[in-house]
Subunit: 232 residues, 2 copies
């Protein structure tokens, strides 16, 4: 395995593998296996199968204990936002995993190294290899550095369904009609932006923007709730 | 918690809880909570959220180590057949969990106690409570008694995709046309039954039945493979 990568793992995360073959397998894509039949390699897929389940439990365990007052629905939405391709590929990039994937030449040409689906797989297979090499506690320690601080900084709180919370707040004394209106839409390349306002009893309660209408509505509802509850 | 249940857990599985409140919460449905507001109970849903992930990892870890030669696709199909409502509800019944669920009167009347979705939830929440009370190793020990022997006895091997295996076998020396024909269909209440035969080179290689056409085709392919390989 690449020496620079081993140094990075040790310096950044305090991780040193007992069995480097596991780490190597975790970073080997099938295209590389096919190009080097003489090496008789295994690709990362079996280890990724395991790593997927390790991440699911590590995150579930953390959320269950960290948020004792969250009902199950909220925990499930939060877990789904953390345990997904978008998040895992971002974590993989942040850990520089993209630089160390063993790819065949065709896949390299096709830009696989920067593909979210591959980076997500590699994040899971890395976690699977760490679990096999050093157990669940070592994975938790790694995830405590890479994932949990972001959760605590609110990076995934957009899934908290502020629309439902706003509705529950406004309707605590009876039915109130709440509506969301698109008030602006900008569409620069790859960066669509929607702005939405939320209205009840003819009053604009809040305005929010996002890359989708749904996200913008959530932000608007969150802004409205913060105002109504006096947090903002 | 019910004394008989505690005795059963100890006698059958060697399990004794440190914190019985966890076990009680794992068996409490929301309808029971609503009927007894004075008890200030929590229903099982938060613990089930955790138990779901615990089962996923326990089964994945086992399959990964038990079947070192299975490719990822096979492991994933096998895991999906084990970690699902049908299987978990059957395990719950086998452990007599259905007898100890705390249900409200309305849900009791509606037959919830025998509903697969509830039994599946309870199996997961039981596992979640055991994990919280005694850790992952205790869960593995329990699952080794209730789940793994069935895997080893082949109870889930129907997902092994015999159709693909048959195709690979028949086509090892070149293209062969393989077709599946529905030869019978019975439809008693709640127990639809299909019978299918698999044909190649104008010969019937095998016949199989199942509750869906897909399942029947798999059985037919398995029968054909067993005959061709001289196992039957």
């Amino acid at each position: 395995m690449n020496e620079k990568f081993l140094k990075e793992l040790k310096a950044k995360f305090g991780i040193e593998y007992h069995n480097l073959a596991l780490l190597e397998e975790a970073f080997t894509q099938s295209s590389y296996v096919n190009e080097h039949p003489e090496l008789q390699l295994q690709d990362y897929q079996r280890i990724e199968f395991l790593g997927d389940a390790v991440m699911e439990l590590t995150v579930s365990d953390y959320l269950y204990k960290k948020y004792p007052n969250y009902p199950e629905g909220k925990l499930t939405r939060l877990r789904a936002a953390i345990v997904c391709e978008d998040s895992f590929s971002a974590f993989a990039r942040e850990c520089h995993f993209d630089q160390y994937i063993l790819l065949g030449r065709g896949e390299e040409k096709n830009g696989a190294r920067n593909r979210n689906s591959l980076l997500c797989d590699i994040f899971e297979s890395f976690v699977g290899s760490l679990y096999l090499d050093q157990g669940k506690a070592a994975v938790t320690k790694f995830v405590q550095q890479v994932v949990f601080p972001k959760v605590e900084a609110g990076a995934f709180s957009y899934v908290m369904d502020h629309k439902t919370n706003l509705q529950e707040y406004l309707q605590k004394d009876g039915e109130v009609e709440i509506s969301y209106h698109l008030v602006a839409e900008a569409m620069p390349t790859n960066n669509q932006q929607f702005t939405v306002e939320v209205v009840a009893k003819s009053k604009v309660l809040g305005t929010g923007s996002g890359h989708t209408k749904k996200a913008a509505e959530q932000v608007a509802a969150e802004v409205a709730l913060d105002r109504l509850l006096g947090h903002a």
